[in-house]
Symmetry: C2
Subunit: 404 residues, 2 copies
């Protein structure tokens, strides 16, 4: 039996519920008689190699509950991707501190980190239990019905488009909202749940799962504008042409890549502006506006799904239970068991690590620019309770007198 010290860390982009998972680990672990210390690493695996640890063992449960409800990674995060040398440093530290249980909360990049660490530990003969805890607003982890962080971000996007649709209806024109989603369009597709009335926007949704063509885009916008006198469009930041080149990089002057080789797509309004310019120039429409939702959709305080909060907490608890009751490393996955209920499973890390899920064809309408009812039924229960609702006046027209 080891020292009873466990270590938890958070990696990748933050979400509104990532601290639920952290607190799930901390509170569940503190219940186990064999656990003597709960350590957190600051800024993910970077904090491990730098020995930047904090001791969560004596943190009050009440403050942990308040932190759990606070968005964004309370321990800080990182986008580092450990290679073999980096992992050797991680082991030195884990070994020096006698840590034998490692919990890493993150997306598919972070799950790959856990896989490497797990394999290195096995090769080195070190008794490490390493569990990956899912997290991502993109919903692109393989093997899960959905991922913690996604429902709350989806709720933000749905509410944002419900509002953008109302704004656009009051001062009609064309509105383009650019949503996060490098390879997976789930978050962009969530905009569809902001639609209530048959003529509501978003009228057009462009996903990275479909090839984007400027010509087809302009034709769609023209047709919609002629039918409704306005047009609300949801576009994924990851849309690309037939060769796979992101539309956004056609304009980005300095293409910045992070340590995982991902092109930096957020933080620049270039895609929204490009599309708006095209619409103004080619269709001659004057009132054209674009917003890039950017970091708001993953960090806005005060927009969260209670279903997401509960599940993010549970995957943290389950991770500890799998680590102490089970006999293998793995990645915690969410399974849907009813309409609506969920359960959990532990998947082999190789099933998940470095893999990307994209939207299934059953969720995308044949037109390619809308979602199906299957998607609406899939997402609606995840958005949680207390979703705001929009209402319209119901009143008769008054007969004209001067120009009947």
């Amino acid at each position: 039996m080891g020292s009873g010290k466990i270590l938890v860390a958070q990696g990748g982009g933050p979400t509104a519920v990532i601290n639920q998972s952290l607190v799930g680990v901390a509170l569940e672990a503190r219940r186990f008689r064999d656990v003597t210390r709960v350590y957190g690493a600051l800024h993910g695996v970077r904090g491990i190699v730098d020995e930047q640890f904090v001791d969560l063992t004596q943190e009050t449960s009440h403050n942990l509950e308040l932190v759990a409800a606070t968005p964004s990674s309370a321990l800080g995060s990182t986008r580092d991707k450990p290679d073999v040398k980096y992992c050797a440093e991680i082991f030195n530290v884990l070994r020096a501190h006698e840590i034998e249980h490692f919990f890493y909360i993150g997306g598919n990049d972070s799950s790959d980190t856990v896989r490497i660490v797990s394999e290195q530990a096995r090769t080195a003969g070190y008794p490490l239990r390493a569990i990956h805890i899912p997290k991502t607003i993109d919903n692109d982890l393989v093997g899960s019905d959905h991922t913690p962080g996604f429902p709350s971000a989806a709720r933000f996007v749905a509410q944002a488009f419900a509002g953008a649709n109302l704004d656009n209806a009051s001062l009609p024109g064309v509105y383009v909202g650019v949503v996060m989603g490098r390879h997976a369009g789930f978050l962009t597709a969530a905009s569809a749940l902001g639609k209530k009335f048959p003529d509501d926007g978003p009228h057009l949704i462009y996903l990275p799962e479909r090839t984007f063509s400027i010509e087809a885009f302009l034709a769609d916008v023209k047709a919609t504008y002629e039918r409704h006198g306005r047009c609300v469009i949801a576009v994924s930041e990851g849309i690309h042409d037939a060769s796979g080149e992101p539309i956004a990089t056609l304009l980005a002057k300095d293409v910045e890549r992070d340590a995982h080789g991902n092109v930096q797509l957020s933080g620049t309004g270039a895609l929204a502006d490009l599309l708006c310019d095209e619409i103004k120039a080619k269709l001659g429409i004057k009132r054209v506006r674009g917003d890039t939702f950017g970091y708001l959709q993953r960090s806005f305080i005060g927009c969260v799904s209670d279903v997401d909060q509960r599940e993010a907490r549970e995957v943290g608890e389950k991770a500890v239970q799998y680590a102490f009751w089970g006999d293998r490393d793995g990645s915690v996955a969410i399974r849907r068991t009813g309409f609506y209920s969920a359960d959990y499973a532990l998947l082999p890390l190789s099933d998940v690590a470095g893999k990307t899920r994209t939207m299934e064809d059953e969720f995308i309408a044949p037109s390619g620019t809308d979602v199906t009812d299957a998607f609406r039924l899939y997402l609606r229960p995840l958005l949680g309770s207390g979703m705001p609702d929009a209402f319209r006046l119901r009143c008769a027209r008054v007969a004209k007198i001067l120009k009947p």
Copy 2:
């Protein structure tokens, strides 16, 4: 005594509470024995000249309450600015429909419309009672403590920056958030109420009430980044150089102006990208992100101040009361009477029309890049109840073993 028909319309940009004012008018008016019809004009004064009226008299009170809670102009809006000829057409229509009470909900552009209509009516000898009902997220109407629509937008901005600060703390870098506000910085300054801890962002706030210099901006950012290892910045879309030229127009390729002569500042990410590019190039910081909040801050469904909702409703009720109990045209104004309570007054249209309020010096810190406690006390009660709150872990550091 006239026909008992009244007309209400909404002009300018929508807000989260503009329908509270509409419903305040409709419900209060329906209580008056002399009122026989409550008409709404679709899309503001444009709807009057086109005789696009709807009859709100038989709309159920329950649906009106649901519409009141829905953001964005339920009657639609316009940015038209009537000239003499346009107003003559308005009168023809009002006269034809025997309307003698006109209520227009809008900002300082709309208050000028009411002033022109009121003067035209007087000149023409037509017995019209015209009341301007305040509305604007910019808080820039002269004569009021604040304006309906501003508190809810301010709440959105405060929550957005609270979240952006948390995001930036977890993955440190520089974050620039661009907020609406052509000439007045109130909405940008509201970002300061997202700050809780001494080292929280926004660390720097740039308002249109102060001259913006790129050199000073970069020096501020550099100093903050060196002190905190990160920097969160709130910037008004209306920042300008010493000559008054908006920084945004330096980059905007096609400067679009609306009918009121306002440069279109929203719907383009240009300003955020310009500032981010400068920071990357001149300070050599790699992780730099910018978001332009755009229309989200005035239309996001589900982020509203209950104080704002109540006051927006009341200015609608008061407008009807002034119209039927009083003897003059005017603009409804909000007065602050305690900490916190409000009352109302009717100002002469000439006091308000076409005038712009900007932030008073007592609200802006001497540094020019922060707000004062006077501003915090001014704004906090307007944000309403149930503001989300962010919490941090409180735990001791673990001693290093390998690199003490």
